[in-house]
Symmetry: C2
Subunit: 407 residues, 2 copies
């Protein structure tokens, strides 16, 4: 992010990287559309920066987006004096209002895949702007600004497991992210994302949420009566690393969120036949083992996010997923399994032949339906819980240090 | 249905036909599993006997089914004296307990298609047994017996629009069907059923319902708080023939039932991608016209039941369905559109070429997605609301009048 002023020779720049996150107690429904205040509290896990993050510096971006403007205004308003005597830069608090901002940003994962790219993007924008303008606010306070860009962005200001609190203030200032535990607390969790092939255009979450708030009686009941109880249970499950409780709550809450979407007028469908199959396969596995091996959760799209308690179970999960959803012929494992590909070794899968030779999962052996579905999943991303946003060194800036234009 | 006794020469027989029905306020969840008492009241429309009915006379049937035994016991217990002096038959009340019953039954529609075949079947069984054994009970009282065979069967004892009342008695005797209006009250309604191709095995409604009652908090809320209000609104919409209100309530209640299925642990999926598409197409049409043209509802499977207010709109509906879901190549319209095929003429569709030449619906013209989905629907059935069960003349018996064995 660069700030240049008229005839001056300097450009001040900050580059940051922020992670995406996935909710395990879902956010669906706003009680205030402009301030983006949630109808219910919710909890997410932050995903590893290396695999799913936004990096932000500069570009000649159109500044017309209402939500972008909100974030920029809120940060500028809180800007502090800045002095760098070596470079001869001296900026007064009030100068931030008039300085021009250049912004460049990219995601290291497909934006179109429906993986909460706006969460990472707005978190990164707010975080980098705040560092540029020397804000004193902590991450929790910054999260209340990011929230106004995209609701779930507030949770990407922290690593580990993060709670978005309801807040009481009319202006929304106390509806912000709180870190429940950091990324080291439960660090053996393995996460696999199935990016599901889809022909259907998804309903945007902003308009879908609005329709649900207006028309679903079940959503009101969920927000008022069910979620408060689940928040307490989920908080406890996370703090005690109780994977069985965590998995049951995560799956139930994902399914209830999609139930509310169906109860909306007109109904919203995010899950497709492939999503249904993934759920059925995971439920059958969990049922067969007697205790949950895997948790699954789906956001506003057909992609599955699956969590296993450790690498051993993670490898078993990957084997199952590759058995049911092998790559289409001609696709190499290396372009079909992305992210932390070391899990492939533990799953004993290196080549296309290894995938073809995978035995049916035990829980499917007594079943007639041993059908495999090549092509129904576009690719998998293997990852894990991760840290919050970070500042990158100057040489990783996306903008040229002298012109302030994209490199 | 035949009753033969040891060495006697006579066989007494009754043949009946009973319709199936489709709920417009859904029944999902029992408060008593054995008596089959519903968690909420519900309303159905009875479908035309000519297109979707069960016909029952005789066969060497295994009498081991628990629910079948319940119905038989309840009817026998209420049997009355019977005398036919011409044939020399004289049966005392108590004789019904020991007489042997032969039963034969068939449906005039595919049982596997998931079109509530058990509703028509049990209604027909109870109705024909009651006539055979000369019961004094009226249809409403008989419905409480049919209910113990299959919950929704109670509603097939009447034509037109039928309400299944909750009842207060512990023994379930007042949880029975009441006719809201008969089939002549709203007789211009056209019904089209899309039998959707499906690879997936459906969850049985009995076990699905049980899982929902045990695990879905949304179901409890729906049954206690939402359905009572909808029952009043639906009753009014039906009595005043207010199609717009009827359609909104019918669609919302179908979607909420499927939402509750999704909220179940493990989740239940009855709707597939084709069901989703049908809903989206119907919603788009209704939205585009500004007022509902069509109501849709889905039971425990992917098949759509669509209702239009009159033949004119019914023809427009059929055009749309055939545009989006043309028969696979080589299939003639006559084997693709079943039931009351006279609607085809009004839709201007007689040949495969007519279907191919159908213009895109107006509401789809501005959309990029003019895709058609041949093969996604197995066939359509055109029908209308119909009458309750009827007794058929002796020559239509399914059993031989002298041997009592299947013809």
């Amino acid at each position: 992010m660069g700030a240049g002023k008229g005839m001056d020779k300097w450009i001040l720049m900050t580059t940051a990287r922020a992670p995406t996150n996935i909710a395990v107690i879902k956010y669906w429904g706003k009680r205030d559309e402009t301030l983006i205040l949630p109808l219910n509290e919710n909890i997410s896990v932050t995903l590893d920066l290396d695999h799913l993050s936004a990096t932000t510096t500069v570009a000649e971006i159109s500044l017309s987006g209402g939500r972008f403007q909100t974030c920029l205004r809120e940060i500028r308003y809180r800007g502090e004096d800045f002095k760098d005597e070596k470079k001869g830069i001296c900026i007064k608090k009030e100068d931030w209002q008039t300085l021009h901002v250049h912004i460049a940003s990219f995601n290291n994962f497909p934006t179109a895949a429906g993986l909460a790219s706006s969460a990472a993007g707005f978190a990164c924008l707010v975080y980098s702007l705040a560092k540029l303008m020397n804000l004193k606010e902590n991450c929790s306070q910054l999260s209340a600004i990011a929230r106004q860009g995209s609701g779930s962005a507030c949770r990407s200001l922290y690593g580990g497991f993060v709670k978005w609190t309801m807040g009481n203030e009319l202006n929304g200032s106390d509806s912000l992210a709180v870190q429940l535990v950091d990324e080291t607390h439960w660090d053996d969790i393995v996460i696999i994302i199935a990016v599901v092939s889809s022909r259907q255009k998804d309903t945007s979450s902003t308009s879908g949420m609005r329709d649900s708030v207006e028309s679903s009686a079940l959503l009101q009941y969920r927000a008022k009566t069910i979620v408060p109880k689940r928040m307490i249970q989920m908080d406890k499950a996370i703090k005690t690393r109780d994977f069985a409780s965590f998995a049951k709550l995560t799956c139930a809450d994902s399914n209830q969120f999609h139930a509310v979407c169906l109860d909306t007028v007109p109904p919203i469908f995010y899950l497709n036949n492939t999503s249904h199959r993934i759920i059925n396969f995971m439920e059958r596995w969990n049922h067969n083992e007697g205790t949950p091996q895997v948790a699954y959760t789906f956001d506003a799209g057909p992609n599955a996010v699956m969590l296993a308690p450790n690498r051993k179970v993670g490898a078993l999960l990957l084997q199952r997923l590759l058995f049911y959803f092998p790559p289409p012929s001609g696709t190499e494992p290396t372009s079909y399994i992305l992210g932390d590909t070391s899990l492939l070794e533990e799953a004993g899968v290196q080549t296309v032949k290894d995938i073809e030779a995978l035995p049916p999962p035990l829980e499917s052996k007594d079943s007639v339906s041993l059908q495999r579905y090549p092509g129904d999943v576009s690719y998998f991303i293997c990852t894990k819980p991760g840290r919050g946003p970070m500042i990158l060194p100057g040489d990783q800036s996306l903008l040229h240090p002298e012109t302030g234009l994209p490199k």
